[in-house]
């Protein structure tokens, strides 16, 4: 099968406009004849479900949480980028495009990224119209701040709760369509399979998490807006429930998985405190606007925050400012993370040894504590709450943690996967961030896909197939998929082994972090592959899931998700093994410059790796989508 990205021809700035005109339309009166399923209600899912409902389609939306408002987009702190140029500081759609392509280390499509930058301005307008309370200046106009990887201030924010406010805006729009009867909402419902007939996605199989009932839903198209898979590392900044199951089941039904090894490690998270740790908490990278990152010049094991205050300037190493004078503390996330790891590997880490300082002393002296409180108050509170230390009185300690996955289901320019009628939006797809995502771009992409891309592109597919091309849930394929889902659940419950689900998950996570985390090598990856294969075999013979299938059973939910994470973990390792270059979040030890910076191999790896599932325990097949760059010149990223 040949991968067709369907990027429109023509000049970059005209591609999307031209494409929108060329897409087929569904007549307003006919839209009600089409059913669309949306799985996940984060920024991408809620905005898509609401917008499609507004257009007149019949939408069914699903979320595993008790309310669509809980989706993990809600936890995004820092902000959302848009090329509004309200600050008169030289921003433009092209500059946002350029920064995003460069930040992604030239592993994203030009056409997609330009479109993202183009619609970014509409997103801000839309959110303000919905009553999202963005931060404002005293004159009443919108405020901006700067973020890593950019030299302009284009980030819109709502204190440290931007994701929450944007999601509540989209949740409101979704609620409006639920009230109008255009969206039927299924809370506490998990998608467990996608049904494909004659090569097209026809519906999904779900489990009601309260009653355990397995249900079939058919539709003309299925949208997966199910987020990323960072929880494959067990410890990550993702919510506990975030999982890859929907995407993975789609992968097994024919959707290719794009760049699975591209993982983002976020530099500013609260360090691990013990083995009981269940998740990691991010401190928004916006903190790097005012906080200075440092460690002592000489190793000082166990150095505490309160003692750090007395350390003279001459004994401190502000390593990001020293190595990258033009970007300083605002270098992109992968660079900041890798450098933090490096100084800790040198033995100069503070606290537990796996931490660096993020120091606000100078900012507080310069601007006053009140100003800093107004900007970052909730983040400082959160830090104090979790660590029991006061960050106004001494530097914070931070360490990198898994935060975001740039990889995901491969989609074309229309956001369609390799299964016709099956779409992936937001973090669930691989598309716009290349090998590394810039801060404040995830919210932008989720809402771009949901509000401004899918409402156009889905019409083209639906108009092409026609409303008669729908298969009812009485079709044997639904029965077959239901039986398979039931069989898997019964198997999980009947093993009754000796190890808890979390034990397997932790073991998988440690393996992934050690060998497929911030820095990867061939030897390590090969070792990881073996460990994961053994873990999979052990899981299916010795996992212990108590309780029944026909009730609320949180262990059963977790077990199904961990089983999928184990399989995904192996694919991530395969992908990392294949990509022998360093790029973005993927650092291959064999591929670095003499100064120890990441070295890309553009002549060999300027492609998207799209993996095709070939059956249980069969090697997956790699397909390559060549990336063409006509508007930017590929350079080794330099933030010096």
């Amino acid at each position: 099968m040949k991968l067709e990205s369907k990027i429109p021809e023509g000049p970059l700035a005209e591609k999307w406009t031209k494409h929108k005109f060329n897409l087929k339309l569904v007549n307003p009166a006919n839209k009600r004849k089409y059913d669309v399923i949306v799985v996940g209600t984060g920024l991408a899912g809620a905005s898509a479900a609401a917008s499609l409902g507004e257009l007149g389609y019949n939408v069914k939306a699903f979320c595993f949480q008790d309310s669509p408002r809980r989706a993990h987009s809600i936890a995004a702190q820092g902000g959302i980028n848009a090329a509004k140029n309200y600050q008169n500081d030289g921003d433009s759609v092209f500059r946002l495009f350029y920064d995003t392509i460069k930040g992604g280390d030239y592993r994203a499509r030009e056409g997609n990224v330009y479109r993202l930058a183009e619609v970014s301005v509409d997103i801000i307008d839309q959110c303000v119209a919905q009553g999202v309370p963005f931060a404002r200046e005293y004159g009443g106009l919108l405020a901006n701040r700067s973020f890593g990887g950019a030299q302009v201030s284009r980030t819109f924010y709502a204190r440290g709760q931007t994701g929450q406010q944007l999601l509540l805006g989209a949740y409101g729009a979704l609620n409006r369509q639920i009230a109008n009867g255009k969206v039927k909402m299924y809370n506490r419902t998990e998608m467990l399979d996608v049904v494909v007939v004659d090569g097209k996605a026809r519906g999904i199989i779900t489990r009601d998490l309260v009653t355990g009932k397995i249900e079939s839903h058919s539709a003309h198209a299925v949208l997966l807006c199910t987020g990323g898979y960072g929880n494959v590392f067990y410890l990550s900044t993702n919510a506990k429930g975030s999982n890859v199951t929907a995407a993975w089941r789609a992968h097994k039904k024919g959707a290719f998985f794009g760049n699975p090894c591209f993982t983002q490690i976020h530099p500013t998270c609260i360090p691990v405190s013990g083995t009981h740790q269940s998740k990691l908490t991010l401190m928004s990278e916006s903190l790097r606007n005012d906080g200075r990152v440092w460690v002592p010049k000489k190793p000082m094991p166990g150095l505490k925050s309160k003692d750090a205050m007395n350390l003279p300037e001459s004994e401190r190493d502000y390593f990001l400012e020293r190595k990258y004078p033009s970007f300083g503390n605002l270098v992109p996330r992968d660079v900041a993370s890798r450098n933090a790891k490096q100084v800790c590997d040198e033995g100069r880490g503070v606290g537990s040894g796996l931490a660096v300082f993020l120091d606000f002393t100078d900012a507080i002296k310069r601007d006053g504590e009140d100003t800093i409180r107004a900007k970052y108050g909730n983040l400082f509170d959160m830090y104090a709450q979790i660590t029991g230390e006061n960050p106004y009185k001494g530097p914070m300690m931070i360490y990198p943690a898994v935060h975001y996955t740039m990889g995901g289901l491969w989609v074309d320019y229309n956001l369609m996967t390799t299964v016709p009628g099956l779409y992936a939006l937001g973090e669930a797809n691989f598309s716009d961030h290349g090998a590394n995502r810039l801060g404040a771009s995830a919210l932008m992409q989720g809402l771009a896909d949901g509000y401004f891309v899918i409402p156009y592109t889905i019409g083209d597919y639906l108009a092409t197939i026609g409303w008669n091309d729908k298969i009812g849930t009485d079709h044997p394929a639904f029965k077959e998929a239901t039986d398979a889902v039931n069989e898997r659940i019964n198997k999980l419950i009947s093993i009754k082994g000796k190890k808890t689900v979390d034990e397997f998950h932790r073991q998988l996570g440690l393996t992934m972090w050690e060998y497929c985390g911030m820095s990867r090598s061939e030897a390590g990856l090969k070792k990881a592959k073996k460990i994961i294969q053994d873990l999979k075999a052990e899981f299916w013979t010795s996992v212990n899931v108590l309780g029944a299938a026909n009730e609320l059973n949180q262990e059963l939910e977790k077990a199904g998700r961990v089983a999928d994470f184990i399989e995904l973990g192996e694919l991530m390792v395969d992908d990392a093994l294949n990509r022998t270059e360093s790029c973005g979040g993927h650092f291959r030890e064999e591929s670095q410059t003499p100064e120890g910076e990441a070295m890309r191999k553009d002549d060999e790896f300027a492609y998207v790796a799209a993996w095709e599932y070939k059956g249980d325990n069969q090697p997956e097949v790699l397909h390559k989508e060549e990336l063409k760059f006509e508007n930017v010149k590929l350079t080794q990223r330099s933030y010096k």
């Binding site: 609401a50 917008s51 949480q65 008790d66 309310s67 408002r69 809980r70 993990h72 809600i74 936890a75 509004k84 309200y86 509409d122 801000i124 307008d125 839309q126 959110c127 303000v128 119209a129 919905q130 009553g131 309370p133 404002r136 005293y138 004159g139 009443g140 106009l141 204190r159 709760q161 929450q164 406010q165 949740y171 409101g172 729009a173 609620n175 409006r176 639920i178 009230a179 900044t237 919510a239 506990k240 405190s273 013990g274 009981h276 740790q277 269940s278 998740k279 908490t281 991010l282 959160m382 709450q385 029991g388 401004f452 409402p455 808890t500 979390d502 108590l546 309780g547 009730e551 609320l552």
Partner: protein, 256 residues
């Protein structure tokens, strides 16, 4: 640390529940309250006893999914969410009682899990601005004074956890409802529909079986996001103003 836990166990919505006591000897002061239950649940699983069901997701205090009524207070002794409560807030040897949210409008699903879809239905009744995607004015076309935007933001930080209902002796949801009504009553974008919104959301709140406000301020004292009781005053004003004009709203339930 060692603690004794008295936890509400209830098989499902139809079964009768009861407290069960657990001795928990492996508690670190740095654990969050939920991590403490995670560890207990793993121990229970190893012993062949079904783990305790509880709601949680983001574990960073923003999704609003975690709940738990701990020693008679929603989200425990601190004014924060249960996921942000750490065991250093308790003492060695302490007995801790853990119950689900208790309110007619939040029926128990299992153990510590309750059904809060009543909150969703209240939001569906009018917790939004009626705008479609696209065709909206430029974001900077309508300036909003910073003070107003900040006040709207303060109301908008509600995470919908339901602690206000659990804290209230009347199981009133007025802090929750007033937060959304306030956000939109303050912002120019929401002002257009402020009357209809207030009427519809209050009507739905009543239909769901939440109680009335008798000004005990318990909700404000327990709200993990510090939502102010002044929002309730604003909601009452919005509601009365609306009722004095001509909007008529059909309610879906009995009301009080």
């Amino acid at each position: 640390m060692k603690i004794t836990l008295k936890v509400w166990r209830q098989k499902d919505n139809k079964s009768k529940g009861a407290f069960k006591t657990y001795q928990h000897d492996h508690v670190s002061p740095d654990m969050s309250f939920l991590e403490m239950i995670d560890v207990l649940n793993e121990e229970l699983t190893r012993k062949g006893e079904e783990p305790i069901a509880f709601d949680h997701d983001c574990r960073e205090g923003i999704c609003g999914m975690c709940s738990l009524y701990i020693n008679g207070r929603p989200h425990g002794p601190l004014q924060t969410t249960t996921c942000q409560l750490h065991m250093r807030s308790f003492t060695d040897g302490q007995t801790i009682t853990v119950e689900p949210w208790r309110a007619k409008a939040f029926p128990v699903v299992k153990d510590l899990v309750v059904d809060r879809t009543a909150f969703d239905r209240i939001q569906q009744a009018g917790g939004y601005v009626n705008v479609n995607t696209g065709g909206v004015p430029d974001a900077n076309e309508i300036p909003v004074p910073k003070k107003v935007a900040d006040e709207a933001f303060d109301a908008a930080t509600c995470i919908g956890c339901g602690a206000c209902v659990a804290a209230c002796k009347n199981a009133s949801a007025m802090l929750f409802v007033s937060a959304k009504i306030s956000q939109f009553a303050l912002l120019p974008q929401g002002k257009v529909e402020r009357k209809e919104r207030a009427e519809k959301m209050v009507a739905q709140m009543d239909a769901e079986g939440f109680g009335s406000c008798t000004n005990t301020y318990a909700c404000e004292a327990e709200c993990p996001k510090g939502i102010k009781i002044t929002n309730i005053a604003r909601m009452n004003r919005e509601y009365f103003t609306a009722m004095l004009s001509s909007y008529q709203v059909e309610t879906k339930g009995g009301g009080d």
